[in-house]
């Protein structure tokens, strides 16, 4: 049958199907060209740099850059017996240069990560190396300390040689590769990062819970009040939302300080004694209170926009069918708000997990999060590859949360503003 139907042609004599496909392709290209500038911009300035972070995080240049000649000489060394004079001479010349630049302390810190005991022997070597004579460096270096004659320490240096390593990631969860190549945890008293990860999760989780508990009633009120009242109350949500983060943090610093209004109030109602005012800032409490208030609008807005669409007649129907208001709420209203709850919790949790400014100002030592550690390594220790590794671990976590959320609720169910 179909072969008998004559092909429909356009006025130019081209089959309609071909002409349509052409037009479709042209439209596709047109749409893509509109998106292209921004897409290129974001890819070059943002997506590639994140890839660059990945490169940096596994590319351990710290030690290789400090001891270039040593690693070159070590290429020939099999790593079983003590290395020969060539390696010692190369190490000596690298080391003298480091001492001139006053960077030998960094080297000892870095090598100490790989094997304990480097700190003291490097200090000793620095003192003795000034009086070294030319030639036969192997003997002279070995004479400085018996550990320099121990092959394990040279193996430890060689272990730092490979250009690509996952050791920064291991360090991020307080583990390291020991002499035998096994992956083990660092001693209990030095496990700072695990504590930080757990604290970050804990604070993000509880801030999300607090935000949800506080946002649900007011979102409900805003959605059910008549327009003229709800618009006014909406300002209470939107004004903090539009106000500078630093301004809001500053106001919490004033309120929570020991002579602050919150403490004054507690003293006033006799909850605490005047001379025994509790420390509410520079600890976890500070982080909790300030972050909850700052992130609350991000929970209220999605909840509100979902609740606004729920018809009040549904609750009335539930009640008229014999449910008590609580049953009607729980069986009818609450399930309908789940997309809003999902969106709000996701938003608040992800914002909280990457929070930096507020914890740094009101969190003190016990209220800081993983982001603060990343910033610390970016700005103070300049260990950028470690900062990159931790950043990527955090990013993986955030993306995993998105993925789980997408599986459970579906990302399309998100409603914002």
């Amino acid at each position: 049958m179909s072969s008998e139907i004559k092909q429909i042609l356009t006025t130019d004599g081209i089959p309609l199907e071909v002409s349509l496909r052409k037009a479709e392709r042209r439209n596709k290209i047109k749409a893509f060209l509109l998106v292209a500038p921004l897409l290129l911009f974001i890819i070059i300035t943002y997506v590639f740099p994140i890839g660059d972070m990945l490169m940096r995080s596994v590319d351990d240049k710290m030690v290789t850059e400090m001891l270039p000649k040593t690693f070159k000489a070590m290429e020939k060394w099999d790593g079983k017996e003590l290395p020969d004079e060539e390696v010692f001479a190369a190490f000596h010349s690298d080391f003298i240069k480091l001492v001139d630049e006053k960077r030998e302390g960094k080297l000892s810190t870095q090598l100490n990560y790989t094997k304990n005991g480097f700190k003291s022997i490097i200090k000793k070597l620095r003192r003795k190396s000034k009086s070294f004579e030319e030639g036969n460096y192997k003997e002279q270096i070995m004479a400085v300390h018996k550990r320099w004659a121990n092959v394990e320490y040279w193996q430890a240096i060689k272990r730092r040689a490979p250009a690509y390593t996952g050791q920064k990631y291991l360090k991020g969860i307080d583990m390291f590769k020991n002499e035998n190549g096994e992956i083990v945890s660092v001693p209990e008293d030095r496990r700072i990062h695990r504590v930080l990860w757990l604290r970050t999760l804990e604070i993000a989780f509880f801030v999300t819970v607090f935000c949800f508990l506080m946002a649900y009633p007011i979102a409900h009120l805003l959605a059910t009040l008549p327009m003229k009242y709800s618009n006014l109350l909406m300002i209470c949500v939107l004004l903090p939302f539009w106000t500078s983060l630093l301004v809001r943090t500053a106001s919490w610093m004033i309120l929570l300080q020991q002579q602050g209004l919150v403490n004054d109030f507690f003293v006033g109602i006799g909850l605490v004694a005047d001379d025994n005012r509790p420390e509410m800032m520079f600890n976890k409490t500070g982080s909790y209170v300030a972050m909850t208030q700052i992130l609350l609008p991000f929970m209220v807005l999605p909840l509100y926009s979902v609740m606004k669409t729920i018809s009040p007649s549904l609750m009335r129907a539930g009640k008229s069918l014999g449910g008590t208001p609580f049953v009607a709420f729980w069986k009818v209203y609450f399930p309908l708000t789940i997309p809003g709850i999902g969106a709000g919790c996701l938003l608040v949790f992800i914002l909280a997990i990457g929070y930096y400014i507020t914890p740094a100002l009101v969190g003190g030592a016990s209220g800081t999060l993983i982001s603060n550690q990343i910033a610390f390594h970016m700005k103070s220790t300049l260990d950028w590859s470690f900062a990159s590794a931790m950043g990527l671990m955090l990013l993986t976590g955030v993306l995993a949360i998105y993925w789980v959320y997408n599986k459970l609720v579906g990302i399309d169910n998100i409603k914002l503003g």
Binding site: F32, L34, M53, V247
Partner: protein, 284 residues
Amino acid sequence: MALPKYTEPHYRIWHYVYLTICAAVFFFLIAPLFVIFPLSFNAEEFLVFSDGMKRLDPDAFSLRWYKDMIYGTKNPWGLATKNSFIIAIFATIGSVILGTVAALGLSSRHMPYKGLIMAVLISPMIVPLIISGVAIFFFMAKAGLAATHLGIILAHIILGTPFVVITVTATLSGFDHSVTRAAASLGSNPVNTFMKITLPLILPGVISGGLFAFVTSFDEVVVVLFLAGLENTTIPIQMWTGLREQLSPTILAVATCLIILSTLILVTAELLRRRSERLRGINR
């Protein structure tokens, strides 16, 4: 929210408990902002309410911190304000142009790989700021743009475009495409159609996206902390340093000005939202 007359007593009680909870939450949200106002007029150097202030003694109040903010010796606020506005304005212009054009493409039903591209474009909004900060810093350092205005402006364009893309695509979702076809059939070229027909209709979305981009840039501190040198200091950086070192009342004076600014932005955004809803025929 008046209760019907037949409401049973325990539900009546519950209703008042619920209203009290709501009032407490609203208080928690808004009250902290109002601590700043009176303290910024404090005549003394301490950040607590002095006895004079509690008695409302006029001598306990003064404008000295506002004077310090404007005329203070070696004060950084003038330069910071100038930088903040320059950076925010250019970042907004950049975000609005790039974002609006991209949103036009994304709203076309012919757009291939829409989901994937959208995910890439809004990723700067989703990725934690500290990670964006590190990544952008690496790029700017390589490109030689660290500690320059241009570098910070580009960084803020990255952070601001997702808001423009989202608000403009949302506005375009209710857009009747037959009007552009009508314009085309009447002989208008695409650029003319965009300027005369499309843009005026989506303008509320564009402006509110622009407001988001402006506020993002104006309030941004994490990325700027990595990028800025002494010459590029901004208001948030000065606030940050001030809050870390010594919390002076001058900061509160600045904070008060910022609250006033955010109130203005809020009012503009609200008016625009209502106008946009009216134009799109959403009546409530």
